[in-house]
């Protein structure tokens, strides 16, 4: 696939009316018989193109599982999941999304540059184009000049930024991020959140973002999906009316606090079921 075709196919994908992700009546059970666990119960969700959607909820609420179903790393049980209007398996074959895991998952024997070109090598992008993309995505994550370093020479935050650059390298319209900053300290996390927002504004991608942190979810998202455990289901979907351009100061604003309050209430309601 040439660059031109790649860009035009992405562009036409964006023009199509289908939502980025459409989930209806999704149920998923792990195991069988007595050991069976209902991981997801009747999940319905539509995510439009260009949205930034956070999934928040306690451990075991199925948010990572839901993400893995969208990525075709887990097969859907019953119900329907559409990614760009096609099945997750077809979307994966079309390399429709970039996945950022909880850990950087860099290959330690590859330099930063070669980690970023990994998906490009697999997709058969030519060398000159690979070099161009590496330079572009390293700039996007503010790591220009680190191309020749190896993973062990970078801090945890830098490694995670490399893994984001890797996901961006083949320019997927959809970005799936599973607690990408979960293992980092709060200061670096705030910083990376700001960078991520800026990156999202620049690239206009659809982002699905799993997190444990209420401030993170409210700060980043246009839509917040609150989930509750046993079985994993959607407890609340909150559309954020915060402006798209945000700085850290927005966290002090009454609108921000109002949304955070509603997220917290949704989480508490989900937990209440546990005691009943």
């Amino acid at each position: 696939m040439t660059v031109l075709e790649a860009t035009s196919s992405v562009a036409s994908a964006r023009d199509r009316p289908e939502p980025a992700v459409e989930i209806s009546h999704l149920n998923l059970v792990f195991g069988e018989g007595k050991a069976a666990v209902r991981a997801l119960a009747d999940v319905n969700l539509t995510i439009g193109r260009g949205e930034f959607v956070s999934f928040i909820g306690p451990s075991g609420c199925g948010k990572t599982t839901l993400m893995r179903v969208v990525a075709d790393l887990e097969s859907a049980g019953s119900g329907s999941v559409k990614v760009n209007g096609v099945s997750p398996a077809e979307a994966r074959l079309a390399r429709a999304y970039g996945y950022v895991f909880q850990a950087p998952a860099l290959y330690p024997w590859r330099s930063v540059q070669r980690n970023i070109t990994l998906p490009l090598e697999i997709m058969g992008v030519d060398r000159a184009e690979q070099a161009r993309r590496v330079a572009r995505v390293l700039d996007l994550v503010n790591l220009t000049g680190f191309a020749r370093k190896f993973p062990w020479q970078l801090s945890g935050g830098m490694q995670q930024r490399v893994s984001i650059a890797r996901a961006l390298s083949f320019d997927p319209a959809l970005l799936l991020m599973d607690e990408p900053f979960g293992a980092l300290d709060e200061i670096i996390r705030d910083h990376l959140n700001e960078q991520l927002l800026r990156l999202w504004e620049r690239t206009r991608k659809t982002v699905l973002f799993v997190t444990h942190s209420i401030p993170e979810a409210v700060f980043l998202s246009t839509k917040i999906v609150v989930m509750s455990p046993r079985p994993g289901r959607i407890a609340d979907v909150i559309d954020s009316d915060l402006p798209r351009e945000r700085t850290v100061e927005i966290r002090e604003s009454p609108e921000f606090i109002k949304i955070a309050h509603r997220v917290r209430a949704g989480l508490r309601a989900g937990h209440g079921d546990d005691d009943a």
Binding site: A71, L73, R92, L93, R95, Y97, G98, Y99, F101, Q102, A103, A105, Y107, P108, W109, R110, S111, L118, P119, E121, I122, M123, F150, P151, W152
Partner: protein
Amino acid sequence: MATMMLEIARPGTRHNPFARLAAGRILPVLVVSLALLAIWYVATIGLNARGALDQYERDERNDWTIAELIADTMRQERPLLPAPHQILVELDKSVLQIAPTSRRSLVYHGWVTLSAAFVGFAMGTLLGIVLAIAIVHVPALEHALMPWIIASQTIPILAIAPMIIVVLGSVGLVGLLPKAIISAYLCFFPVAIGMVKGLTSPDPLQLDLIRTYSATEGQLFRKLRFPAAIAFLFASLKVAIALAIVGAIVGELPTGAQAGLGARMLSGSYYGQTVQIWAALIVAAIVSGLSIAAVGLAERVTMRAMGSAP
């Protein structure tokens, strides 16, 4: 702060040369080597005294002294245990003083053994890698092949080596190849086991990642499984090269081979030439050590190129 702690923990390391020597690697190695040498000499005296005394008896000598006795334990032609300096003299004679192409040169015999070992090492490594790839990609093969692979190593090589030589000899295969096959028989095992472990070493996240790119099986192997297995491969290769040399020597023992370190040891034992046996043993040890060091060097170069922390 850290340097202060270090100085407290190891007082005087900076100023006292002896303390520095002890902290380094030279002194411990030196002490152990000297101790082994001393034990060897004591054993030489103890084991060869009988022979010396018998000789005195045959010569009807009664005027020997302890000093004479000790000296005589170390200058016998066929001692039970030759003294280290006797072996050194023999090594000097058969390595340095003689053309390396001569049949009496240990360089010549060492090369005969080493060339068979290298060919066997290459064959065994290839076989081990192929088996590991098959086992990792076809789960049924693990159950089908593993028992045989393990059983192959429970058979004493000394028992099976003569049969291999005889069978191959009957179909006209003689010389280097039968020995190489015995070497390969020994050294495919650690490679196969190490590579199975290495090829399955990528963690679930690394596997999931490449799956999100819809990589083919071949890409998964080239970009993830094989590079991840390299460290395991080198650990196996160090064992395998030593086994390959053992295999080549064992392959020379039962055939009455004309050349090779094994043949040297065997002819030495026929004629009671213990000094010759020991000289061949020492050369075998040096050759093995150098081969392992060569694999170690290749490992360091490769791992450095693959970005491992120095």
